[in-house]
């Protein structure tokens, strides 16, 4: 089966600019996650979707970050405006589980964002 797709793979922007990342999960996976992985740290969950509804967005900086999964399939994560500290790899993952996260997640290759 095809894996989780993400684009772009790399993005370089200047601070205060906007950027958007796209993710297409494994077909049939109802749960989609966005993580932020800063260099030297483990992934930090930003937002979790169950179909097109938000399950958890408690760690999403809502003043600048937004995410949507309108049709319950692919998803977009946006940062507006970007700050230097947003430089990180943004990972998308999907799983076949319901609201609970005890099924394994399948990760995409990530988007490496550099904010100058």
């Amino acid at each position: 089966e095809a894996g989780v797709a993400q684009s772009p793979r790399y993005k370089i922007i200047e601070k205060r600019q906007s950027v958007a990342f796209w993710c297409n999960p494994i077909s049939g996976h109802a749960t989609l996650y966005w993580y932020q992985q800063i260099l030297g740290q483990g992934p930090k969950l930003l937002i979790q979707f169950q179909n097109n509804g938000v399950v958890d967005d408690s760690q999403l900086p809502k003043d600048r970050f937004s995410a949507e999964r309108l049709k319950g399939v692919d998803s977009t994560l946006k940062i507006q405006p970007a700050k230097l500290e947003d430089s990180a790899v943004y990972l998308c993952a999907s799983s076949s589980s319901g609201r609970s996260s005890y099924n394994e997640q399948f990760f995409g290759p990530g988007t490496r964002l550099t904010v100058l």
Binding site: G42, L45, D56, S101, G108
Partner: protein, 113 residues
């Protein structure tokens, strides 16, 4: 507060020797425990998980992990290391009480020939 600790940033092992990558977690309800591996320029891959039952869990690529409730640990092990095992390993814990998954900071495993 829920937390996950991987006390070693790096583990170095000679090929053929046994390896252990350590993980401890804070106690909160009944956590579900996972190990993921990240190879260079690739996404994280699932290795194994503990939900309930036998404390020794077997996973992909010959890895296994032992759940120790009294020590709140979930160490990853392999009897005989391969050079191809060199990668970044993450322990993760899902806390049902908070419906939240938390990843450790990662341990870089380096296997020398």
């Amino acid at each position: 507060a829920q937390s996950v600790a991987q006390p070693e940033d790096q583990v170095n092992v000679a090929e053929g020797n046994p390896l252990t990558v350590k993980c401890t977690y804070s106690v909160s309800g009944n956590p579900y425990l996972f190990w993921y591996v990240q190879y260079p320029n690739r996404g994280l891959q699932f290795l194994l998980k503990y939900i309930t039952g036998d404390n020794l869990v077997k996973g992909s690529y010959g890895f296994e992990a032992e759940f120790n409730k009294s020590q709140t640990s979930f160490h990853l092990k392999k009897p005989s290391a391969l050079v191809s095992d060199s990668a970044l390993y993450f322990c993760a814990v899902w806390y049902s009480s908070a419906s939240k998954i938390i990843f450790g900071s990662g341990t870089r495993l380096s296997i020398r020939p």
